[in-house]
């Protein structure tokens, strides 16, 4: 093997490394931001025809950004942790001048006049945008099959879904098309695809990251969240984007700070409650045994393990399927063909124009949820549905408060199953909704939750372990996740990558 060839090999796997590793390499001059960006773009060229993680690849823009970072690196000025690292953004996050579609026909041509706050923060930190990723339309779904454009595939097995709704971002990080990515988690839309794609998905406390510029699905649940290759990267990315935003009245009054403090301190003495109810019926045996093995591992590391329960969590799914559609029915009313996006032509009057635009522009699941939400808010039903659901929300929050009096963290599976075949659940909405049964309680209560890989099933598909912490106790979640990750040493990668590297 000649030197040039070896160097080429070396460069082509830059995109599979972690962000913190690459940051060190950039600052040490071991690679350039442009080389790194090109490595991701080359990977996209190589695999994305099959994976279909991206709706748009911003190659030119990415290279321009990379050159600017390289100039700063050359002058030794660049110390920012995210600078020069290629990032993918779920296409529900507004990017000024870059089409943002929400995976919907109704916004197929929408170019936002502004940046969402998380991207503004990342861009200011020297982050490089490689593209916008596919998702279920308006983030409604658990498989990314509800995209109006095409489904995304799981890099571990192209016949399987990547999970969703942030399936494009999850697949991009798993396949080395981006080093890390942002998604949004409303009912599990980051943690679940992270689990199914074998990466780390971290949903922080509701309100910690600004929602400004995150195209709303369900306002009281939507949470910008991260996909990374390891826990340290999750802490780095979070530290760059978590702070009070004056443009989001629901963002919490917290200043920027470094998350992941005490991350290396281990779990000795941490009280972890295991949600036994979440390891029963409907949970695949492989998921169950991987989670149980994880409990043993944490116990060996010194964590104090006991059984915990969230008695009202079984009602959380029902409450979620009232609250989220209600908010969505109102949030999506603005897509009416008047100011931007799709307009149906030749309507006789404005009502007909609205109805046809929305009929043609929205897909099946979005229509279903708009109908559901409109119905449950309509005269005479509010108290029975929305009002009751908000009460269940209170009960779920009280359950978490009770549990966190005894425990520092709660543990369970992220998803009851590993990745399933495309088309397997598209005809049965209720079966699809059950994917989110373990992630939804975290959204209703707003607590931070992380999904980390904890093994593979018999088909070689990744399994996710979920840890949830107290409001604003991201540090403890990261600390336990890091200890677990270091101990497990999960090193498997999708076959696709090995093939690409070969």
């Amino acid at each position: 093997m000649g030197g040039a060839e070896r160097s080429e090999r070396h460069r082509s796997d830059l995109c599979d490394r972690t962000g913190h590793e690459l940051g060190e390499m950039l600052r040490a001059g071991e690679c350039s931001a442009l080389e790194l960006t090109d490595s991701c773009l080359a990977r996209i060229d190589l695999v994305d025809e099959r994976v279909k993680a991206f709706l748009e690849v911003t190659a030119d823009r990415a290279r321009d950004q990379a050159r600017q970072i390289d100039e700063r690196l050359a002058k030794g000025e660049e110390r920012r942790a995210v600078a020069g690292i290629p990032l993918a953004l779920k296409d529900v996050l507004c990017t000024r001048g870059v089409t943002t579609t929400c995976g919907s026909k109704i916004l197929h041509n929408y170019v936002p006049p502004y940046d969402c706050t998380p991207w503004e923060d990342l861009r200011a930190g020297g982050s490089i945008l490689v593209g916008k990723t596919n998702c279920d339309e308006f983030a409604m779904g658990s498989s990314t099959e509800n995209s109006a454009f095409f489904p995304t595939r799981n890099p571990w097995d192209l016949d399987m879904v990547p999970g969703g709704s942030s399936g494009g971002s999850a697949a991009a990080v798993a396949a080395g098309e981006a080093v890390w990515a942002l998604g949004t988690d409303t009912g599990g839309s980051v943690r679940q695809p992270a689990a199914l794609c074998g990466v780390v998905g971290f949903k922080p406390t509701y309100g910690l990251i600004s929602r400004y510029g995150l195209i709303a699905f369900a306002s009281s649940l939507d949470t910008v969240s991260t996909f990374t290759r390891d826990v340290r990267d999750a802490a780095i990315l979070l530290s760059r984007i978590a702070a009070k935003d004056p443009r989001d009245a629901t963002s919490l009054p917290t200043p920027f700070r470094n998350y992941g403090r005490g991350m290396e301190d281990g779990v000795r003495g941490l009280k972890i409650g295991v949600l036994r109810d979440w390891l029963g019926e409907g949970v695949e045996p492989a998921v169950k045994s991987a989670v149980e093995a994880s409990v043993g591992r944490l116990q060996n590391l010194g964590a104090e393990i006991d059984e915990a329960s969230l008695p009202n969590a079984e009602y959380a799914l029902s409450a979620y399927y009232l609250i989220a559609p209600a908010e969505c029915s109102s949030n999506l009313a603005r897509y009416d063909g008047v100011r931007y996006g799709l307009r149906s032509k030749d309507a006789a009057d404005v009502v007909e124009m609205n109805m046809r635009t929305r009929g043609e522009g929205f897909g099946d699941e979005v229509k279903r949820r708009i109908m559901l939400g409109t119905y449950s808010l309509s005269a005479g039903y509010y108290d029975a549905y929305y009002g009751q659901a908000q009460k269940v929300r209170t009960l779920v929050i009280q359950d978490f408060q009770g549990a966190f009096e005894r425990f520092d963290l709660l543990l369970g599976p992220t998803s009851p199953t590993t990745a399933f075949p495309l088309g397997a659940k598209t005809e049965d909405p209720l079966a699809m909704y059950l994917n989110d049964i373990f992630t939804i309680p975290g959204n209703l209560s707003g607590v931070p939750g992380i999904s980390i890989p904890c093994g593979l099933d018999e088909k070689g598909l990744p399994i996710g372990l979920q840890l949830m912490g107290k409001h604003l106790d991201e540090d403890t979640v990261l600390r336990a996740a890091y200890a677990f990750e270091q101990d497990l040493g999960f090193a498997d990668r999708p076959a696709l990558i090995q093939e690409a590297a070969a």
Partner: protein, 96 residues
């Protein structure tokens, strides 16, 4: 028992044109989903207060300070149809 809903009325409220096939399918699916969702009534007693926000706050305001605006061109950039600096829409029949 699946819930019976007036699909046409709801679609009209939501301004959604539905095909006959969609109307029938949604009637069935929404009925089943609502039947499942009705479980919320089993637990939520009268004395439970509803929660709207996962992490409650109050009095979040901004100062009355002007910020930059969009130009007329920027405002109209995405509009399907424009006339005289305004967004053009088909005629409005309904009052209100």
């Amino acid at each position: 028992m699946p819930v019976e809903i007036d699909v046409d009325h709801v679609a009209r409220l939501a301004r959604l044109n539905l095909t006959d096939e969609e109307r029938e399918r949604f009637r069935t699916q929404l009925g089943l989903i609502l039947e499942h969702a009705e479980r919320v009534r089993e637990v939520a007693a009268d004395d439970v207060r509803p929660t709207a926000q996962p992490v409650p706050q109050s009095n979040v305001f901004r100062d009355d300070e002007p910020e930059p605006v969009l130009t007329q061109d920027e405002a109209l950039a995405g509009a399907p149809e424009v006339e005289d600096g305004r967004f053009k829409v088909p005629r409005i029949i309904e009052a209100e």
